[in-house]
Symmetry: C2
Subunit: 154 residues, 2 copies
Amino acid sequence: MHSLNICNDYNIRMKREITAFDQLIAHNIRPSVQRLAVMDYLLTYRSHPSVEEIYNALHPTIPTLSKTTIYNTLNLFLEYGAVQALTIDEKQVRYDADCAEHAHFRCSKCNKLFDFPQPEFTEDKIVSSGFKIDKCHVYLTGICDVCQLGRPLE
Amino acid sequence: MHSLNICNDYNIRMKREITAFDQLIAHNIRPSVQRLAVMDYLLTYRSHPSVEEIYNALHPTIPTLSKTTIYNTLNLFLEYGAVQALTIDEKQVRYDADCAEHAHFRCSKCNKLFDFPQPEFTEDKIVSSGFKIDKCHVYLTGICDVCQLGRPLE
DNA sequence: TAGCATAATTGTAATGATTATAAATAACAT
DNA sequence: ATGTTATTTATAATCATTACAATTATGCTA
């Protein structure tokens, strides 16, 4: 059905020894079946999934699961810094359990997301601006390697 | 009502000698009252406004103006490369008539957007990745200079 | 271990941004 | 002028997300 666990070399960065359980505990989030399932999905599939994708993936296994729960859960994760939200996709928010600063690439053909290394900031105008910067999102768009081989979007 | 034309030094970059008319012509967009008004607003106020903001600003002067027209117009501008869309705001798309690559900063207190210089890419993993990069959006979030003075959000 | 308090989940309805559609209007050319 | 095409408009539809209120699960205390 979905083979979305697309990886480029940068996606290996995050060690997957971390269990969903430990990840929740580490962020002071009380574990529950649903929360564990969502976190486990994020840690296993690095597709930076949307709520929709997570729901479709987990619903067969947890038939009682509600989409609202996914929203609640992800907002909780966000609040506790256990995930980061990506707005690179104009239609829906995508989530990433890897909160370390790194860039993202969205293929405008297949719409998949890929991790990329974060560029360095060489300009120092930024520091001298009087603005306090909390976070830097780098969103690249273009055509991924697979799509460049001409395989059309089906 | 709205004094949104907030500028930092970087906002001066784009020369405003360009008229809305010339901007449209330069991008092969047939001018109309509505299109000129929208482009003129974008060129005059560098707040990176949302559809809502543009509508509220222009509606008093052009009472027949429809919000749909603003959507149509901005999508047309996008299609012809006359503006760029910013997804730094999770709630609504913001627009920028300056298509030159530059970064953006969103204050998480007042939610205003500011232009910033684009950081340099020093990592070359990116070029060697086999991905064709079309565009690079850099979205910074934090607290702007004004909000750091503690003035609470009213 | 029963009973109670709190937290988590769920279904449904509401919101709000954006798009689809089709009618009305304006611009344009013959 | 008149017909053709482009543009604008109002209304309805869509879709992601949130609000809300009821239900269920969990944890704690006696």
